[in-house]
């Protein structure tokens, strides 16, 4: 261990704005020290003005390592601490806590990355050692400009708003309630259940989807802390973490719990419309129940279809139906918000694999409805003459698309991501068909089979054993679906089979099932309202895919389920529980702690030019008309620093990243470079 108090006696420190810097360089058990000569670096750094202690450690993150930091802070009165080790994404928080334990403000700590960005990427040991020295030297100059910062603390109203009544929203609401949190669950549709209600059985367990759903709904609606609101539409939302005010509009249901003879009310209705629950495979009335055993178990009236003819009212003797019911508005007060807005199945473009042209080309979702004993056909597949004998599945429809090969979507992009659920889903359905009709011949056109989930691979094996024929197509030349000139079956699927070295395959089919991908449910108005980050795949974007997977960058807003990306039911529930626990933890703190790296306006320097007012994506900057200067709302600011780079007078500075600090880094890194 090298200790070098020499070069920086008291006076020296005064010149360095009184900084007493301790530097701890990690061997990382050789990960760093095998390449970087850490001892030499410690020596070099020890000579810098302001540095009163410089040492190396086998594992700085270990208990002895952290112990040493605390000890030296107390012993030498260190007021700045630098650790050069792995990436800050791993241990920055660890060491902040360490220095805090020793009574030093945690933001007087600086983390230098000499593993991921030095020892692991550099071959030449000498060069790596010099680079490490430069980076730490820059940190030394940077920390001289650091000031103690406090995390922002904002009180939290102990209630949660969950948006979306699908499986993810339900699970989130349940978990929150079970943790004793007050929850309001709002659903746009008149009925809960979302997409899962439209499934028949669930993989990999094969259990009945609606039974599972029913159990969750029971747990939710029976819980006294949960308030469920259906037919609810979000109008606008204001406020910040801890104190959101969300205004909603509740469409009139038309029917209420006094309605006894529900069946006759529905039967009496003369109006028919397409039943979106069956993906257009059936019709429903203007007053309807979404599905058998749906919740709430009360019919709802579709006002777009209802003519207010009154027949239903007559049929039930006027009790329980009110055609004059008016919409209501209310404001929901919550400390946090969970978005569980779900997905929509990919709707193939007209003519994509013959979709829309040939009635016998259907989507996997439609097939699942057809297989449902309670579905439009009571579980029977469409007949032509006799049971269909040949069914072709085509995978990756509206998924893993290739620019230039697949037709662009209305948004100008192609759906290049894997929808993850359709492989298993398709095989699950195919096997179901085989179980029911031993004689059906099934061909499965795929580019890759991705039955990645636990127990999912079994479907693939069973399918192969069950004699389902797999044809692998080249994604650059996807199969073509055509009408069949020969009468034996209405359709033809053509492609060349990679498995047989590109042999041309021409497969007659009575039914073509498109295993379609998934797209996020359109929530553009919510995205604007809550300043959500959205990925190029137009799913909502978490703060960090691994480290903070269920949080949005906007404090207090969480993600649950497939609004974040394609998920099967298992994953959606897991994500929902994760979101619930994160949200609950936040509420439990009673106050929220936020990183202090926010922007602040120097009132002296602000010239009132108003350039910054349009740049904040979070509307955190407003103009104080009386003083004619800009003001940053601490609670709204997410600390990106964009406004700081915008301000033409450098009047806006970002804590932790102000000009002095970053410029000090730049100049320190370039020491000596000036000599060419």
């Amino acid at each position: 261990m090298v200790e070098t108090p020499g070069s920086c006696s008291g006076s020296g420190n005064e010149r360095e704005n009184g900084a007493r810097i301790g530097v701890f360089i990690c061997h990382c058990g050789g990960n760093i020290s095998d390449v970087v000569d850490v001892k030499r670096v410690a020596d070099e750094i020890g000579k810098l003005p302001g540095v009163v202690f410089s040492t190396t450690q086998m594992f700085v993150c270990s208990d002895p390592g952290q112990g040493l930091i605390e000890q030296k802070i107390k012993e030498l009165g260190l007021n700045r601490v630098i650790v050069a080790a792995c990436s800050p994404t791993l241990h920055q928080l660890t060491f902040r806590r360490t220095v805090a334990r020793a009574g030093l403000n945690q933001f007087l700590f600086e983390h230098v990355n000499v593993r991921e960005q030095v020892s692991w990427v550099t071959e030449d040991a000498e060069a790596a050692t010099q680079k490490a020295t430069r980076l730490i030297r820059a940190a030394v100059d940077r920390v001289k400009h650091l000031t103690p910062l406090d995390k922002r603390r904002i009180p939290i109203h102990p209630a949660a708003l969950v948006i979306g009544g699908g499986i993810a929203g339900l699970v989130t609401a349940r978990d929150l309630a079970q943790r004793g949190m007050k929850v309001t669950l709002v659903e746009k549709q008149p009925f809960l259940g979302g997409r899962v209600a439209q499934l028949h059985t669930l993989f990999p367990t094969g259990e009945d989807a609606r039974d599972a759903l029913k159990r969750v709904i029971e747990e939710v609606v029976s819980h006294e802390l949960v308030n469920v609101i259906t037919s609810a539409q979000i109008l606008d939302s204001e406020g910040v973490v801890g104190d959101f005010r969300t205004r909603i509009r509740i469409e009139p249901r038309g029917a209420n719990s006094q309605l006894r003879q529900r069946a006759s009310a529905v039967a009496a209705c003369p109006e028919q419309t397409i039943n979106e629950f069956d993906y257009g495979l059936s019709q429903r009335k203007a007053i309807y129940m979404a599905y058998p055993g749906c919740y709430p178990p009360i019919p709802a009236i579709d006002w777009n279809v209802c003519t207010k003819c009154g027949k239903c009212v007559w049929a039930v003797g006027g009790r329980g139906i009110n055609l004059a019911e008016q919409p209501r508005e209310m404001v929901l007060h919550s400390g946090i918000i969970v978005l569980a807005t779900g997905f929509d199945p990919y709707e193939p473009l007209y003519g994509e694999y013959g979709y829309g042209i040939f009635p016998r080309v259907i989507t996997l979702q439609q097939l699942i409805r057809l297989l449902d004993p309670l579905g439009p056909t009571g579980g029977r597949l469409p007949r032509n003459d006799g049971e269909p004998t040949r069914i072709a599945f085509i995978h990756c429809v509206g998924a893993r698309q290739i620019e230039g090969v697949n037709q662009r979507q209305p948004d100008g992009r192609v759906k290049d991501y894997c929808a993850r659920t359709c492989c298993t889903g398709a095989l699950h359905a195919a096997l179901e068909i085989r179980r029911r009709h031993a004689d059906v011949m099934i061909t499965d056109f795929y580019q890759d089979i991705r039955t990645y989930g636990r127990g999912h691979e079994a479907y693939y094996e069973q399918a192969s054993e069950a004699g389902i024929l797999f044809v692998r197509y080249d994604p650059r030349h996807p199969p073509r679906v055509e009408g069949n000139p020969k009468g034996d079956s209405p359709l033809l699927v053509r492609t060349s089979d990679l498995l047989t070295g590109g042999l041309d395959v021409e497969m007659p089919a009575d039914l073509v099932v498109l295993a379609t991908g998934v797209v996020p449910h359109d929530i553009s108005e919510l995205v604007g309202m809550y300043h959500c980050a959205v990925g190029s795949d137009s799913f909502l974007l978490e703060v960090h895919p691994k480290l903070r997977p269920v949080e949005l960058a906007v404090a207090g807003v969480f993600l649950a389920g497939s609004c974040q990306g394609p998920m099967d039911v298992t994953e959606a529930c897991a994500a929902a529980s994760a979101a619930a626990s994160k949200a609950a933890a936040l509420i439990a703190q009673a106050q929220v702690e936020m990183d202090p790296f926010i922007a602040r306006v120097d009132e002296e320097l602000c010239t009132g030019c108003q350039t910054c007012l349009t740049v904040c994506a979070y509307d955190a900057i407003t103009r104080d008309e009386t003083r004619g200067i800009a003001v940053v709302s601490e609670a709204r600011c997410t600390g990106c620093g964009t406004c700081a780079a915008t301000c033409p007078s450098n009047a806006i500075q970002q804590f932790g990243f102000n000009d002095a600090q970053v410029l000090a880094e730049v100049k320190a890194l370039l020491q000596g470079a000036a000599l060419g």
């Binding site: 740049v615 007078s649 450098n650």
Partner: protein, 329 residues
């Protein structure tokens, strides 16, 4: 040695000097702009150097004791060897040396020459010019032999320097030219000893806000749809020129001028130099401008930016010599 020096020296009045080096003379004129105050000024102060207005001589200045001049206003930057020497001389002879005007503080318009080479400048004047008659390709030389002896002219420097590049400066008075009212206020503050502690970074006779602060035009908080050059469109009278798409340096420019150019319906070009604690006016403006484009794609952003035909000449119109990079490579 002339009695007038003693006169200037003897009566305990403030002794002021005004010198013009690498500038256009507008600064001297701007000092005359204080108008009637001139008569007040000569009551409290003696001019001991003001070449364009009075016959005080180089020899006098040389003979003045060091620190003899109480306040010396030095306008213009340093373009040649003579100007550097005079700057050093006046620093020696002055208690307070003030860089007066954009050329002295930031290089000013002449520092646009820092974006060109010396060879290019000479070529444009002496070799490649439509009205030229110079078959022998003659160029001015520092020393020329005549039949009677050597003739000498000063060395031309590689680029324009600020006064503070050459000598220690006590205060900066920005502006092209500085506004008379501001200057008179500063002179009064000076006489009353109310100026802040001297420091080459201290700017006086100006405000800390930006030109927008003095600009009467309305901000509508909209992003810029497209850029327009001043001659390409009629500007809406009451509305912020920048929001209309005319590049206006106002947001990145120190106030004090009274937003005169915008009031004349033309965008600010930044003659008062950077505002706040900014070092590099151009970089600050680029940071601001880039943040307020109404462009959602890179292509659109590039299209818009391509209509900014002369970034350097626009963002560094007056401050090339004080910018981070100082000039062209």
């Amino acid at each position: 040695m002339s009695e007038k020096t003693d006169k200037a020296g003897g009566n305990g009045k403030l002794k002021i000097g005004m010198y013009w080096a690498a500038s256009c003379g507008g600064c001297d004129i701007s000092l005359l702009e204080i108008g009637p105050h001139i008569l007040e000024l000569i009551e409290v102060a003696d001019v001991v150097l003001w070449p364009c207005a009075a016959d005080f001589k180089y020899q006098d200045v040389v003979n003045y004791p060091d620190q003899f001049i109480d306040v010396c206003f030095f306008n213009g930057g340093v373009r040649n060897s003579e100007q550097e020497e005079i700057a050093r001389l006046l620093r020696r002879k002055s208690k307070t040396l003030i860089a007066y005007g954009a050329c002295a503080t930031d290089g000013g318009i002449p520092a646009l020459a820092n974006t060109k080479t010396v060879e290019g400048i000479f070529a444009a004047s002496y070799h490649d010019c439509p009205s030229l008659d110079n078959p022998a390709h003659v160029e001015p030389q520092p020393i020329t032999q005549s039949e009677y002896g050597e003739l000498e002219i000063p060395r031309f420097y590689p680029q324009v320097l600020r006064l503070s590049d050459v000598v220690e400066v006590d205060y900066q008075i920005p502006g092209c030219p500085p506004q008379a009212e501001r200057v008179w206020e500063a002179i009064l503050a000076l006489v009353g000893g109310q100026l802040p502690a001297r420091n080459s970074a201290v700017k006086v006779a100006c405000f800390d806000k930006s030109v927008c602060d003095e600009c009467p035009r309305e901000k509508r908080k909209v992003k810029i749809k497209e850029f327009k050059r001043p001659h390409e469109a009629m500007a809406e009278a009451e509305w912020c020129l920048l929001e209309q798409g005319f590049i206006c340096m106002g947001p990145a420019t120190r106030s004090g001028c009274g937003a005169l150019c915008v009031k004349a319906n033309l965008p600010c070009r930044g003659c008062y130099g950077p505002s706040g604690e900014v070092q590099d006016q151009g970089a600050a403006m680029i940071g601001a401008l880039g943040s307020i484009l109404d462009a959602s794609t890179e292509e659109r952003a590039r299209e818009m930016i391509d209509h900014i035909v002369d970034p350097v000449g626009t963002f560094y119109r007056f401050t090339m010599a004080s910018s981070d990079l100082k000039g062209r490579r």
